[in-house]
């Protein structure tokens, strides 16, 4: 029974979902007016992502192997390093935004500097233990998230006001466009798929489209709940999904704010661990390089905290988008074409 260091399509799907939901958790609302354009924006972005995923899915279904190596053979290391750099920034951004959430909602619990160090250290440990562990742990964290979500929905004290779900009007176009592009730029699951597809034990299409379906269902449901329960209160509380939890109350657990944070922190460690694993993948020893990339991510996060580097600003949006287009669509697309032209090495 040899060990293979591979993960299943289901595990990759959940890992991609957890990294995406992490982004939703630490998303800070700005000028929420109606959920309908946001829901439509998400739907359209998901549809476009389904098309954008075709090159990566096609490559792993037909050919397999590392698309960077397919394109550049022995000089592929430079392309791989680009992936590492991209995900080091994404990891830094995730840590920075999560730390911002911690310091705004739990300022008395932990100082941001300690939070950054501990998060990066824990994520480095997770990354160094390999993709198998991350994939397996992802399944557990997904069920943990699902259980918390269902439980909070059951004990939520908020009433549903369906009139909050307004029909679309011409004035919603701007909001729709903003959320649509925001969603597209957050599609770094495509470069993730390009790197982790190599560790996949078949079923790239299942992983990609399963992820899209799951993401669409869960985030649309969250948006719907936020709209019909919280309405414009979102504008003043900052984190919509967090506020949804804050409205839950039971006799046993009085409030769910901190419980939410607990699950999110576990998810954050896992998501950042996955990014760091991708960063360290081109190198032979993940045990050495995971901590190095964790330190780089921590520097980004510190820069956000101490020097005002903004990870939800326009430059970061552009950076994320370029990464998605180049590393998530162009690279597998070019690898596909090259493999076809050169006769293709069948799996």
């Amino acid at each position: 029974m040899p060990k293979t260091e591979k993960i299943s399509a289901g595990q990759l799907m959940l890992l991609l979902f957890l990294s995406r939901i992490m982004h939703t958790m630490i998303f800070r609302a700005r000028g929420f007016s109606s959920g309908t354009p946001l829901m439509l924006g998400l739907f359209c972005a998901t549809a476009l992502e389904a098309v954008a995923a075709i090159p990566a899915v096609l490559y792993y279904s037909k050919f397999g192997g590392d698309p960077s190596a397919e394109l550049f053979k022995s000089r592929a290391i430079w392309l791989r390093l680009l992936y590492s750099a991209y995900f080091a920034v994404i990891a830094g951004g995730t840590v920075a935004l999560f730390t911002r959430f911690l310091s705004s909602e739990f300022s008395k619990t932990v100082s941001p500097a300690i939070a950054i160090i501990l998060l990066c250290a824990a994520a480095a440990y997770c990354a160094s233990r390999g993709i198998e562990g991350l994939g397996r742990a992802g399944t557990v964290v997904f069920w943990l998230f699902a259980a918390l979500f269902v439980f909070m929905a059951l004990v939520n004290k908020g009433g549903f006001d369906w009139l909050n779900l307004r029909p679309l009007t011409a004035g919603d176009g701007e909001k729709f466009a903003e959320y649509f592009f925001e969603n597209l730029s957050s599609a770094w699951w495509l470069p993730m798929l390009c790197v982790l597809g190599e560790s996949l034990n078949g079923g790239a299409a299942k992983a990609a489209y399963g992820y899209l379906a799951l993401k669409l269902a869960v985030i649309e449901a969250l948006l719907l709940l936020v709209t019909v329960i919280l309405w414009k209160y979102v504008n003043v509380i900052g984190y919509p999904i967090f506020a949804l939890g804050a409205y839950a109350k039971s006799d046993f657990i009085q409030r769910f704010d901190a419980i939410n944070m607990l699950v999110w922190a576990i998810n954050c460690v896992l998501a950042v661990g996955a990014y760091l694993h991708i960063c360290a993948k081109p190198f032979k020893s993940p045990k050495i390089f995971s901590p190095i990339f964790a330190a780089i991510s921590a520097i980004f996060a510190f820069a956000a905290y101490f020097f005002g580097l903004e990870f939800d600003s326009a430059w970061f949006l552009a950076f994320k988008s370029i990464g998605v287009a180049a590393l998530g669509i162009a690279v597998p697309g070019a690898a596909c074409i090259k493999a076809y032209v050169s006769g293709g090495r069948k799996k």
Partner: protein, 492 residues
């Protein structure tokens, strides 16, 4: 080892001297000199390693009864090796070292003057305990027999439960000095060949001088660098051992140790008991859920309590929060220090309870429960809610004794991290522990299977215990998703 490889020789006294020298003049080496049909012989045994009465009946009496005219040493050897039925186990001895090895295993060695070979006959008869009850794994409706210190008795206990030729015992030796007998137990056709081979190699790689407990071989069987959980489990129950080898696992019995090591071990097995099969499925499922709950309570409740009280009081219900505040008003230490004091106190009491002779073990509970517990609260040293939390935690810990080391360490770490940085600290510890458990595997079988990687049919049997009648899709460890790498199939 000056005599290693030295032949026995034809000189009786020379051979005896060589064997004596091999044992360094150890006092427990008995030498009986006699004559068989006029040929001088010596019978060597180790004190306490053979059953004297059996030896007298099965070896001495037939030897004395052998009468041959003008018997030559070769005739005596022929009688011993070909015609005599002295024991079920016998072996020809050529070398001094072979003789020493057999003697250590409870054989009687017969040396004949003028003949270069001897014979060894199995006459093991160590003084050992009778088959006793499994004290560390008690149950309600299962067997009352535990594995024995004597490896042969343990083998018999297993054979009695699986009367099939497919049950295999493979005897091996380990321990540079102790030369302890180990026995691999498995069922042919159920245990994968690769697992057998790897276990054998692992046993052969054991470098310890002595094998005195199962702990001496477990690190070699479950090589997992930095793993918090163990990929190898132990049991002293023959019925548990049989059930596990039926699931494709391999057990290793150790001579002189009443516990068998079993690999690969799964996390979920810690929550199964023999009584699960004896109870109604719905009740067994309920009990199993209670055990899962007890695990989390035991490892996390004190940490959660401290973190909630110190950093997230909004989580606690109003009555609990007010009670906590009222009682903490009167205690001199911060809550986290109080919690650590009580946890350490509990661990001391537990350790004392284990180490003390049973006759006075009850005194520990009196001192612990009555004197320390009651007095600490009355004197205002410790708050009453905290003591209740520790009471619940300690009781929960007793539910899953096999995970006690892990629960104890997690408990204290949760208290420290929860007290320092609240639920954030507990989250970090949980994430790291989860990853650690997920990367642990034993012989490429994931420790967390069948939960993750998910094997639906087996997972169903964990959470909703199905009746034995409806279980037709029983899976061995090899068939679990993720064994030897993840499948691209149904699992997640």
């Amino acid at each position: 080892m000056a005599y290693e490889g030295r032949p026995l020789g034809i000189s009786l006294e020379g051979a005896i001297a060589a064997i004596k020298a091999e044992f360094g003049g150890s006092s427990d080496l008995n030498v009986v000199r006699t004559e068989v049909s006029g040929v001088k012989c010596a019978i060597l045994t180790l004190e306490g390693m053979v059953k004297t009465s059996d030896l007298a009946k099965s070896l001495f009496e037939p030897l004395m009864g052998f009468k041959a005219k003008n018997a030559a040493p070769a005739d005596v050897f022929k009688f011993l090796s070909e015609y005599g039925l002295f024991s079920t186990e016998s072996a020809v001895i050529n070398l001094v070292s072979e003789a020493a090895e057999r003697l250590c295993s409870g054989f009687a060695v017969v040396i004949i003057r003028g003949f270069p070979r001897g014979m060894a006959f199995g006459a093991q008869g160590f003084a050992s305990r009778a088959v006793s009850e499994p004290d560390s794994e008690p149950n309600v409706k299962g067997t009352r027999e535990a594995l024995s210190d004597n490896i042969r008795t343990s083998m018999a206990l297993i054979r009695r439960r699986i009367k099939s030729p497919k049950l295999r015992f493979e005897l091996l030796k380990a321990g540079k000095l102790s030369n302890t007998e180990l026995c691999m137990v498995y069922i042919d056709g159920k245990t994968p060949n690769a697992l057998r081979e790897q276990t054998k190699k692992a046993i052969e790689s054991i470098k310890s001088d002595l094998i005195l407990t199962s702990g001496n071989i477990i690190p070699y069987l479950g090589k997992n660098g930095g793993s918090f959980f163990s990929g190898v489990s132990t049991t002293e129950r023959p019925d548990v051992l049989c059930a596990k080898i039926n699931g494709g696992r391999i057990a290793v019995l150790i001579d002189g140790v009443p516990f068998a090591a079993i690999c690969p071990a799964l996390f979920i097995e810690n929550f199964r008991t023999v009584d699960d099969s004896a109870d109604k499925p719905y009740y067994a499922a309920y009990q199993r859920w209670i055990r899962f709950f007890a695990f989390f309570v035991s490892s996390m409740l004190p940490g959660f309590y401290v973190a909630a009280a110190v950093h997230h009081p909004e989580v606690l219900s109003r009555s609990l929060l007010l009670n906590l505040l009222a009682s903490e008003e009167r205690t001199p230490y911060p809550l986290i220090a109080e919690m650590i004091i009580v946890i350490v106190m509990f661990e001391i009491l537990r350790e004392a309870g284990i180490r003390l002779p049973r006759s006075i073990g009850g005194a520990v509970s009196i001192v612990g429960g009555l004197v320390i517990g009651d007095a600490a609260v009355t004197s205002g040293l410790i708050s009453a809610p905290l003591l209740i939390i520790i009471g619940i935690t300690a009781t929960s810990a007793f539910v899953i004794p096999s995970l006690n080391p892990q629960m104890t360490v997690l408990r204290i770490l949760n208290v420290l991290l929860g007290g320092a940085i609240g639920f954030f600290g507990i989250a970090l510890l949980s994430a790291v522990t989860l990853i650690n458990a997920c990367v642990t595997d034993s012989f490429a079988v994931p420790y967390t299977a069948p939960l993750t990687p998910f094997t639906p049919s087996e997972a169903k049997n964990i959470f909703i215990k199905t009746s034995a009648l409806s279980r037709r899709d029983f899976k061995t460890v090899e068939q679990l998703n993720g064994a030897g790498g993840e499948s691209g199939g149904e699992d997640a």
